[in-house]
């Protein structure tokens, strides 16, 4: 399994105590959609700012002191290291508190945790990126990473969908990928509005219509669980083997380091062994516990 290389992951230990977060400052906030924001942040500590490194697909535990911690993936690319980004959809207590923060606010960060996308495995392949809604956040890190080293990869397809035009995240990226002649970018919405001239339809359907070739290709899928569930069968139909499908999973997490227990699927801990998995790894449990 080529994906094994991800176990060779990068780690950053927070001194002696892994649970002690680093203080980071929010530098900029971008309103992506009515309920999603991107936060640009950087560490307060000078040395850490210089030395921090991570891989596309890894996540961190972000703290709002007094409210709690929640895991989010780093949505910026390691190839563009001047600042870090993460995107948050407002769904619960911590995310709502994050949305109340303004630029200059201090948050806590510990990480990066988990594995990243297996870049080595993707090299020299045709790549199909399939994302829905906020699921573009981890993929975006990978897409920029790949585009910044464009010659290492072959054909690139991006299929991105959202519920409505207003729910499309990272529109500034979507625009530049559309401009990019080396990328085949397709955007779709479940239901358009009056001004929407693009495609309508669910991501799995659009994927089926576009039918990218499975030959020497890898599909990287990220989105809401229901989208993932319907996308895998389509990919299979297109000839993708389980080893050619990669996704990242989302679970409730607290510690982020494989101890607190709740993110397990069988003997796999999503925080520690994931969040990036190949479908070959997860197909056994995807039906029953995912």
């Amino acid at each position: 399994m080529a994906i094994d290389e991800i176990s060779n992951r990068k780690r950053f230990l927070a001194g002696d105590n892994v649970y002690l977060p680093h203080i980071a400052v929010i530098e900029k906030i971008i309103e992506e959609t009515p309920d999603t924001r991107t936060f640009h942040f950087s560490f307060k500590d000078e040395k850490l700012r210089r030395e921090f490194s991570f891989e596309s697909g890894q996540f961190g535990e972000f703290s709002i002191f007094g409210v709690g911690e929640a895991p989010f993936c780093i949505s910026s690319s390691p190839t563009r290291c001047d600042h870090l980004e993460f995107a948050v959809k407002r769904v619960g207590r911590v995310t709502s508190a994050l949305h109340r923060l303004g630029a200059g606010a201090e948050i806590g960060f510990r990480g990066p945790y988990g594995n990243g996308f297996p870049l080595g495995y993707l090299e020299g392949k045709n790549l199909v990126f399939i994302a829905g809604g906020i699921g573009l956040a981890p993929l975006r890190s990978l897409i920029w990473n790949v585009l910044d080293k464009r010659d290492k990869y072959r054909k690139i397809d991006i299929i991105y969908g959202a519920r409505s035009p207003a729910d499309l995240c990272f529109t500034y990226d979507l625009d530049s990928w559309k401009q990019d002649k080396t990328v085949n970018m397709v955007t779709t919405v479940d239901k358009g509005d009056d001004s929407w001239t693009g495609r309508e339809g669910f991501v799995p359907q659009v994927l089926e219509q576009l039918a990218p070739s499975a030959k020497e290709a890898v599909a990287v899928v990220c989105g809401p669980p229901v989208m993932i569930r319907f996308t895998f069968p389509v990919l299979a139909k297109l000839g993708f083997t389980p080893g050619q499908m990669i996704t990242t999973l989302e679970k409730r997490m607290k510690c982020g380091i494989g101890k607190c227990g709740r993110c397990n699927i069988g003997d796999i801990y999503v925080c520690r062994d994931g969040p990036v998995f190949s479908y070959a790894q997860i197909r056994d449990f995807i039906s029953s516990e995912y």
Binding site: L13, N17, L20, F65, G258, D267, S288
Partner: protein, 340 residues
């Protein structure tokens, strides 16, 4: 290793002596529930009544809750301060073999990958002095899990009751050192050791519950998708947290912040996979239903943990059976996995 003995009436003096170096914990019901609490001197009657505690001794290392660090805010922003440990070196006296073995299992989890500071700083400062069981409960099934009333795994010192005296055996180097330094010890004679052996044999025979754990991970894997079975097994479970919170090998925890006025702190507290919100995400919950949670608990102990660490994460202490309000008995489940 060294084998010595001490008279039971000397015990109070010994604990006093150890109290000078350690914060000594002994079984008591002082708090209203049987648990390990600080040695207050004099009263060693627990050696007669005590069979096992309700709160497992893991509480002294992985407490029900603990402060991790505090945070405060001033004009320069947040300042974090790690919370100091609550005690220096501690000695748990009278821990039962099942609970000591359980700590060895927790060690693996808290050491692997990222070392858990809070757990490790207590663990490394803890000496475990066990007393072999002479009167196991009818719910004990330790002998099915390569443990037993006289199992020494995880202990530093092991005491065996031979009537008016305890035979004391050093299990680890640290135990030997402590034993050598302790006053009032006499060497155990061959006769004493024979009596200790006899006492152990009797105790072993008194553990009557039996679980066949051969190939357990594979059997559970085969039964994993048997929803009907798990639904049936789980029907009477009420999804409380007793079996997990009081289990010596359960370690799941939750992390929460608490703020009062200008000071805030982050706490870690034990959590339970029996609770529906344990895995609940804003949109989905992978273990929404009771049978899924029951399955996870059983499989974590008998399938997932063994796959990861090569040993079953259960020592057969029987707490979950004794204390369950509906008598949900894990041994009945394990003995009825389909396909046996």
């Amino acid at each position: 290793m060294t084998v010595k003995k001490i008279a039971k009436k000397e015990l109070a003096r010994l604990l006093d002596e150890w109290s000078r170096q350690f914060s000594v914990l002994v079984p008591s019901v002082e708090t209203g529930v049987a648990q390990m609490t600080g040695w207050q001197g004099e009263d060693t009657s627990f050696v007669d009544w005590y069979r096992n505690t309700i709160l497992p001794p893991k509480d002294a290392i992985l407490p029900v809750m603990e402060e991790m660090f505090s945070f405060s805010k001033n004009e320069d922003g947040y300042r974090l301060e790690m919370s100091p440990p609550d005690s220096g070196r501690q000695l748990i006296f009278g821990i039962r073999p099942c609970d000591a073995r359980a700590l060895a299992m927790l060690d693996v989890v808290f050491k692997q990958d990222y070392e858990d500071t809070y757990y490790m700083r207590r663990r490394l400062n803890t000496v475990l002095v066990g007393i072999g069981c002479t009167n196991p409960y009818d719910s004990c099934f330790c002998t099915s899990l390569s443990s037993g009333p006289s199992d020494t795994a995880g202990l530093d010192l092991m005491l065996t009751d031979i009537g008016d005296e305890f035979v004391i055996e050093a299990v680890t180097e640290a135990g030997r050192e402590l034993l050598d330094k302790s006053q009032g010890m006499r060497p155990a004679t061959a006769d004493d050791e024979a009596r200790a052996r006899e006492s152990r044999d009797i105790a072993n025979q008194r553990v009557t519950q039996n679980v066949d754990v051969k190939k357990m991970p594979d059997r559970l894997l085969a039964a994993f998708d048997n929803e009907e079975y798990w639904r049936k097994i789980a029907a009477k479970c009420i999804s409380c947290g007793i079996c997990t919170l009081l289990c010596p090998t359960c370690y799941c925890f939750d992390i929460n912040d608490e703020v009062s006025d200008n000071r805030g702190a982050r706490y870690r507290s034990l959590d339970s996979c029996a609770f529906c919100i344990y895995t609940k995400m804003p949109v989905e919950n992978p273990r929404e239903e009771k049978w899924q949670r029951v399955r996870n608990r059983v499989c974590h102990k008998y399938e997932f943990y063994p796959r990861l660490f090569d040993t079953i994460a259960c020592t057969g202490c029987g707490r979950c059976i004794r204390l369950c309000p509906v008598n949900w008995d894990i041994t009945r489940t394990l003995n009825s996995i389909p396909g046996q």
